[in-house]
């Protein structure tokens, strides 16, 4: 089972070739009480050690399928299920330095049954998480 926090310890790592990292990934538990069509998630914004990584620049992986921000917005069939996670893939030359980082996430959830002024709502989490390999 997954950690209670939205941001998961496991899955926080650099991507791309060793010595020439192209970015990093953050694994996030689907924190809503019901499964969500991908089109109801308007993006996942990250802030790592005070540096913002807006949703529009990231990709999302669900299972073995990757989506750009624009593709997510139109995906009305595939769902994020309760008890599952998704991965935010962030481009960043060189990746993140090994060590403990402060990671904050904000998921823009659109609940069609919420008043329009609360579409989307921002579901936030923040914690420390560790990059092991450079």
């Amino acid at each position: 089972m997954l950690e209670r926090s939205h941001i998961q310890s496991t899955g926080f790592h650099n991507i791309g070739p060793v010595g020439a990292r192209t970015g990093f990934e953050v694994r996030i538990r689907q924190p809503n009480y019901r499964s969500s069509r991908l089109s109801l998630i308007e993006g996942v914004d990250l802030v790592i050690d005070g540096v913002e990584y807006p949703a529009e620049q990231s990709r999302i992986r669900v299972g073995d399928r990757e989506y750009s921000h624009a593709e997510m917005a139109e995906e009305t069939v595939a769902r994020l299920y309760v008890g599952s996670y998704f991965t935010v893939i962030v481009p960043k030359a060189g990746g993140l330095a090994p060590g403990v980082h402060h990671v904050a996430s904000s998921i823009r959830f659109r609940h069609p049954y919420f008043p329009p002024e609360f579409q989307p709502v921002f579901v936030r989490d923040a914690r420390h998480a560790t990059i092991i390999l450079p």
């Binding site: 089972m1 538990r29 009480y33 009305t76 069609p112 329009p116 609360f118 579409q119 921002f122």
Partner: protein
């Protein structure tokens, strides 16, 4: 004298399910309250919704049998604003409801609660609700399911949204559409902790909702004939069986007086620390059963065990 039926919605165990609680754990906790009914959220409880696997179905029916629980209501959603720029058509809404009716029937449920997207702060449902439901009335009849939109805070009983649902029932003459009351409408003290997905923005802007809309319990008399199912929403009950927000000491006698004999299906929506919900649900059952027994004793009826 009529008697309540007791059940639990798995919504009560939100966040525990998927992190520290399995579906079988949840069945055990529900059965442990002495309930006879279990309510699920289709797309939450079924890991491959809308199409359960054979293994999941086998497990579902085995659990119902082992824990002696009957399926009550299946919660579903009609995500009308399906993309940022596009709303569902009535045909799409009807297809969503038809899919959920068939799934609910397959799992043994008698009620389906579709939650419609809304168009304003009064929670007025998207106008497709009416044609989408009407196209499914025959199917619901064939499957023996009653479709129940919920009357949920901040929408009170005396409101155009409720009136429109009742007008629909009277116009169509259907027995397969009714009202579900969420007892959060009776909340009469402010919430200091909401378990419904609170955010800074909601706390700042939705004060009337968080403070409670204080619907008088007497208003139940106007609609009870359309209400076959109640979600017993609550947020915190202390160790003295005192509910801090929902006036059960007024709700229970009114429901008894009106002869309500349907389910009270617990919907805990409070602090989401691990496992807190299990004890909170048990306290609610102890409290409501006590109030029901007191009413029965005072009115010469049977005292329920």
């Amino acid at each position: 004298m009529s008697a309540f039926k007791y059940g639990v919605s798995l919504y009560s165990y939100t966040e525990d399910l998927g992190t520290v609680m399995s579906l079988e754990d949840a069945f055990d906790h529900v059965a442990g309250t002495g309930s006879t009914g279990i309510e699920i959220l289709g797309e939450t409880s079924i890991p491959t919704y809308p199409e359960p696997t054979t293994a999941w179905l086998d497990n579902w029916f085995a659990l119902l049998d082992r824990y002696q629980l009957e399926p009550t209501n299946m919660a579903a959603w009609v995500d009308t604003r399906i993309t940022i720029g596009r709303n569902m058509s009535a045909e799409e809404g009807a297809a969503q409801i038809a899919q959920d009716l068939r799934l609910a029937h397959r799992l043994g449920f008698k009620f389906l609660r579709p939650k419609f997207g809304v168009i304003d702060g009064e929670l007025t449902p998207d106008p497709i609700w009416q044609p989408a439901v009407e196209r499914n009335l025959d199917l619901a009849h064939q499957l023996g399911i009653v479709i129940l939109p919920e009357i949920h805070s901040p929408t009170p009983i005396k409101h155009p949204v409720t009136d429109a649902y009742i007008a629909f029932i009277e116009r169509t003459g259907t027995k397969n559409f009714g009202l579900m009351i969420d007892t959060g409408i009776f909340q009469d003290r402010p919430l200091n902790k909401w378990g419904g997905g609170e955010t800074d923005e909601i706390r700042k802007k939705a004060l009337s909702f968080l403070n409670g809309i204080k619907v008088p319990v007497e208003h139940l008399a106007d609609v009870i004939q359309y209400v076959p199912f109640i979600q017993a929403k609550f947020h915190h009950i202390d160790e003295n069986l005192h509910d801090h927000h929902i006036p059960w000491d007024r709700i229970v006698p009114m429901l008894k007086k009106l002869g309500y004999a349907g389910y009270l299906s617990s919907e805990y929506e409070g602090a989401r620390d691990p496992w807190v919900s299990i004890e909170q649900v048990r306290r609610q059952h102890a409290l409501i059963r006590k109030l029901e027994a007191e009413y029965d004793a005072a009115h010469g009826g049977n005292v329920h065990a």
